[in-house]
């Protein structure tokens, strides 16, 4: 049995924010429950009050607006996978959604939930980081936007304040001459927690020189990180085997992995180098 708690059932976003304002920090929002229910059962979490936001319509919806893609915090991973806007404007996110757990989990897990959980292995974070995403945090006091890279602080730690809900994630539509890709290594082909997950985005100018590179690494540090040194190194460089190999090496250097039951730090570091190289190659290949 789950531990005891009160369960608030707001009918609108406004009601939800009121409840959070009145009850914070004791009120914990519950959307898909795919992490939270598991944590409750395992005793990792003993909140006295949960607040159901799974049914809030205001948190749904995916739209294109002002050169940005805007995804409601309550959008499920399955919805990301099926959505034509995501397929067109953020295929890297779609790739991560496709290998996110399994179809049953995807029908409940939300993009907002995945991010606020703050797991270093969160699947949606690497693609969203290379898309340069921001999260929208709403409270009764107002709404603020925070770059995702700042939002993720550490293991299960984010900048979300107790009275806030993650109401949307947004990112600029990627430039035309750009490509992005995601790959994760797990211990089986489905429903596997990442041993290492990498997303890469490259944008090139007409001469094939890298205008922008973003490399995000998951499950290899206390939070999902950008490999800044590698990105800077690639900037304004032609994307050759040598520069790509160097970027991959620098990415591996950026990791701060641990040994755990899924793999050693040494293995993870090594795999990151391989994945970054392959994904950069893939990005270059798809732009040609």
């Amino acid at each position: 049995m789950l531990p005891e708690f009160r369960l608030l059932m707001p009918q609108t976003l406004s009601e939800a924010l009121d409840m959070l304002a009145a009850g914070a920090p004791k009120v914990v929002p519950l959307a898909g429950g795919t992490n939270l229910i598991v944590d409750l059962r395992g005793g990792r979490h003993r909140p006295s009050v949960l607040m159901n936001i799974a049914g809030l319509d205001e948190l749904r919806g995916i739209r294109r607006e002002d050169g940005h893609l805007v995804v409601g915090g309550g959008v499920t991973i399955a919805e990301l996978l099926d959505n034509p806007l995501i397929a067109q404007y953020a295929p890297v996110l779609r790739e991560a959604a496709a290998v996110f757990a399994n179809p049953l989990i995807r029908n409940r897990a939300t993009i907002g939930g995945n991010l606020v959980d703050g797991s270093p292995a969160a699947n949606t974070a690497p693609p969203l980081l290379v898309l340069d995403a921001e999260v929208e945090l709403a409270s009764k006091a107002g709404t603020r936007r925070v770059p995702l890279d700042d939002f993720l602080v550490g293991v299960r730690q984010t900048l979300r304040q107790p009275e806030e809900l993650l109401t949307a994630v947004r990112w600029p539509v990627p430039p035309p001459h750009s490509a992005a890709a995601f790959y994760k290594v797990g211990l089986r082909k489905s429903d596997a927690i990442s041993v290492a997950g990498v997303a890469v985005m490259v944008a090139c100018d007409e001469d094939g020189r890298c205008e922008q590179a973003r490399i995000a690494l998951g499950a290899v540090a206390p939070r999902v990180i950008r490999a800044r040194a590698a990105e800077e190194m690639l900037c304004r460089q032609p994307l050759t085997d040598e520069t790509i190999a160097e970027a991959a090496r620098l990415s591996a250097e950026a990791t701060r992995c641990i040994d755990d039951i899924r793999g050693s730090a040494a293995y993870r570091k090594r795999v990151v180098e391989v994945l970054v190289r392959r994904l950069l190659d893939e990005g270059v290949g798809s732009m040609e």
Binding site: R188, S190, G263, R270, V271, V274
Partner: protein, 790 residues
């Protein structure tokens, strides 16, 4: 290398009507519409909910235990500790066990009194009005442990001075084989190959966690409705609870999987004790985490092979050492070790054989039965060793095996002559042929192919004097009843009996109803383990049905005034067979039929007091126990032989392995239901493929690090290709219609086939399972290093 299937010897198998057909199983529809009731689906009025309080320490003295706060919690009906139980010991030895002295103090206690030996050992039982109250009560139990030095590695446990898990020492069992002259054999070898292989703790992961409900009735009988592979445990349960045998009634349910994990007593004694103390129905259902912690695991083994071979691959001598990790209590460790020892050199003619095996106690989760029962672990080693021999001699892996394969009439490692068909080359060539041309390597992906041959016993150890009973009866309307104590794990145990009964009595499968798995109301059929049920209960049903058939045909022969041999039964009728050339089981066109519905014949017999039913006791061969100092003699009724081949793609940069193709071929003697046989082959293969690639219960200092199915991984639908199942039927088995067994055999060759394929792909052997990406990369590095140093 192109392989061609070796032609089969001609086999004349009679055409049958029901047996041999892939009919829809009798239990199938109930399962698909969700009507089948499993052990945890059952409720009784006034029922209490139970939980088990377990040790968090792997090796400790219990300094004090205080359950008073738990007892006082409102809604708690009872809390039991070892103090409340007379002398409750969980007897874990097989009936009729032999040779190995049963070591005093080695039986697991039902509840730990002063000492705990593994993390998860049961200490107290709680029954409460609601499950959440029972859970809360667990939290209120107070305990102080004094940790004692523990030992977690079996090799460490063998060293003098190691902590002793239970007196007198950590040696749970030993077996030896001394056959021929290994010194002479090594002396004439051209090459000697030595390797050590390791396999880990594995969990059964049946989808249904252990569960049951017990209640005391007006006769003071303790009824236990439970998922179990053994209804005969009622005797041990009675002893542990302190009641006569005839006061325990096991109502076994259809299992949601067993695989050997529900072969030992799980929840039964806890349920019996709680219901006896409270006089109310009690339900106990394990969570998945509790299941992983509480029930047995597959034995880890360390197996060293030292083999002398001639240039052509012929084995001249083999020296094998096996160490198994028994965990904290023996359970079936001595027998798992026995099976492993007997299977240690594989299905090969080894005239000079020296095997030393030992099972060692440690403060780890206890180990016991798991599909393959030691012979599966043995195969992981011997089949990899055969490939290593091939590599050392630069010979084709099939060729090395061919020159050593046993043939019908050969004697195995224990000197038992195998009389049934041994289609090793036939099965190996078929899987290799079906595997086809190797998919080419591309980029960092290296593709490899590998196969494994195996032998696996079916039927229990013959010095256990195994028996099974079945009752078959014809009702007055021509429908048929089988009563048989057989537990059904999901592999089609009860369905096979129905197909056999229907075949003999000439009715449709839909005319059969079977009542099963009840220790009081159905004739005892023995354990559903050791791939024995089709052999034992299948024969019992065949014989019982045949005796009923005899009575019916005898009466019908008087009715028709024809000899019984000229009569037959089919389609619910008894009829006079047409003279040749018409086939004996079909009526010709235009011929007036001399037939009688079975119902009318049954009514006739009943009116005359003729028996319409038969209870048959089938006996396996009864032999004497073997000398543990040299296991030479007959051990099993018979063996199944076959092979499995796989193709794998190995990403040499990430270490990830993808299974591309999987083919298995087994001689099952006779397939009672080919769809069920195919299902067993595909399912057993998947378990073996998982064993090779991803399954390990990781244990650190006695504590399980993989507590749930997020950490302990089994294959999903994306992980395993459909194993193509090639079913051969030699008709030479000792089961009904010449059947052999397939339950355990289906798993045995899969993991070594994968290991061999991976070694083929990367050119270097990984000696430990599972073949994780990390181990693969380490091996790839070694291969690169070997190349550099020439």
């Amino acid at each position: 290398m192109k392989y061609k299937a070796k032609p089969l010897p001609p086999v004349e198998l009679p055409e049958l009507r029901i047996v041999g057909k892939p009919l829809r199983r009798v239990d199938a529809l109930g399962k698909t519409v969700g009507a089948t009731v499993y052990a945890g689906d059952f409720s009784m009025p006034n029922m209490l909910y139970a939980k088990v309080f377990r040790s968090s320490e792997p090796s400790a003295r219990i300094k004090w235990l205080d359950v008073s706060r738990a007892r006082e919690l409102p809604g708690v009906a009872c809390v039991l500790t070892a103090e409340d139980l007379p002398d409750a010991r969980l007897v874990t030895d097989m009936p009729g066990q032999t040779g190995q002295k049963r070591r005093a103090g080695s039986d697991a206690p039902v509840l730990a009194a002063d000492r705990v030996r593994f993390a998860g050992e049961p200490i107290a039982l709680v029954a409460a009005e609601r499950l959440d109250i029972a859970e809360r009560a667990l939290e209120l139990i107070e305990i102080e442990y004094e940790p004692l030095p523990g030992v977690f590695d079996p090799l460490e446990a063998l060293k003098p001075g190691a902590p002793v898990v239970y007196e007198p020492d950590n040696i749970v069992a030993r077996w030896k084989i001394r056959k021929g002259d290994v010194e002479a054999g090594f002396a004439v070898a051209d090459t000697i190959v030595e390797n050590t292989f390791r396999v880990p703790f594995v969990d059964h992961v049946y989808l249904e966690p252990e569960a049951g409900v017990a209640w005391v009735d007006e006769r003071n009988v303790i009824n236990i409705r439970v998922c179990t592979q053994v209804v005969e445990h009622f005797r041990s349960i009675a002893r542990a609870v302190g009641v006569p045998h005839n006061k325990i009634h096991i109502q076994g349910t259809m299992l949601g999987g067993g695989f050997g994990g529900k072969e030992d007593i799980t929840v039964e004694i806890f349920l019996a004790l709680l219901t006896k103390h409270t006089r109310r129905p009690v339900r106990l259902a394990y969570t998945r985490e509790e299941s992983i912690q509480a029930h047995s695991k597959r034995h880890p083994f360390i197996i060293t092979h030292r083999t002398g071979v001639k240039k052509n691959g012929r084995i001249t001598a083999a020296e094998i050492r096996m160490v198994s990790n028994s965990g904290a209590y023996p359970y079936l460790s001595p027998y798992v070790l026995l099976y492993a020892t007997g299977a240690s050199c594989g299905p090969y003619r080894v005239d000079n054989l020296h095997v030393d095996s030992v099972s060692v106690a440690t403060n780890n989760p206890f180990t016991s039965a798991f599909r393959g029962f030691g012979a599966a672990q043995a195969a992981v080693a011997y089949e990899q060793q055969m490939d290593e021999i091939a590599k050392a001699l630069n010979l084709d892996p099939l060729e090395v095996r061919r020159v050593n394969y046993m043939k019908t009439g050969s004697r195995n490692a224990t000197g038992q002559e195998i009389k049934s068909a041994i289609w090793l080359e036939e099965t190996a060539t078929r899987v290799l042929e079906a595997l086809g041309e190797k998919t080419p390597d591309h980029g960092a992906i290296k593709v490899g192919q590998g196969f494994a041959s195996y032998m696996q016993s079916y039927g229990r150890i013959t010095w256990f004097h195994d028996t099974s009973r079945a009752w078959v009866g014809v009702e007055l309307d021509g429908s048929v009843v089988i009563r048989c104590g057989v537990p059904d794990l999901g592999a089609g145990q009860v369905n096979s009996l129905c197909q056999i009964g229907a075949e003999v009595l000439g009715v449709g499968l839909e005319d059969m109803t079977i009542y099963s798995t009840d220790s009081a109301l159905t004739p005892l059929a023995g354990t559903t383990t050791a791939t024995r049920q089709l052999y034992m209960s299948g024969n019992a049903v065949f014989q019982a049905a045949s005796r009923v058939r005899e009575v019916l045909l005898d009466r019908a022969s008087k009715y028709f005034e024809e000899a019984p041999e000229d009569l037959d039964m089919a389609d619910g009728k008894v009829f006079v067979k047409l003279p040749p050339p018409a086939p004996p089981t079909r009526r010709g066109e235009g011929e007036p039929e001399k037939s009688l519905p079975l119902s009318e014949l049954a009514a006739m017999c009943a009116a005359e007091g003729l028996p319409l039913s038969n209870l048959y006791l089938f006996r396996a061969p009864f032999t004497a126990a073997l000398d543990p100092e040299n296991l030479q003699g007959d051990v099993f009724p018979d063996f199944t032989f076959g092979a499995h081949a796989v193709e794998v793609a190995v990403d040499t940069e990430t270490g990830e392995i993808t299974l591309l193709k999987s083919v298995a071929c087994h001689d099952v003697g006779r397939a009672i239901n080919p769809a069920a046989v195919e299902g067993q082959i595909q399912g057993g293969s998947a378990q073996g493929l998982g064993y090779a690639l991803m399954e390990e219960v990781q244990v650190k200092d006695g504590v399980i690090q993989t507590p749930s199915l997020s950490e302990y991984l089994i294959p999903t639908s994306r992980d395993v290709p459909i194993t193509k199942a090639i079913i051969l039927e030699s008709g030479t088995g000792v089961g009904p219609f010449g059947a052999k067994g397939i339950g355990e055999p289906a798993l045995t060759p899969a993991a070594p086939a994968v290991a061999n394929a991976v070694a083929n792909a990367i050119g270097v052997r990984i000696h430990d399972l599972p073949l994780t990406p990390e181990r693969v990369l380490a091996a790839v590095d070694r291969a690169g290093g070997d190349k550099e140093t020439g």
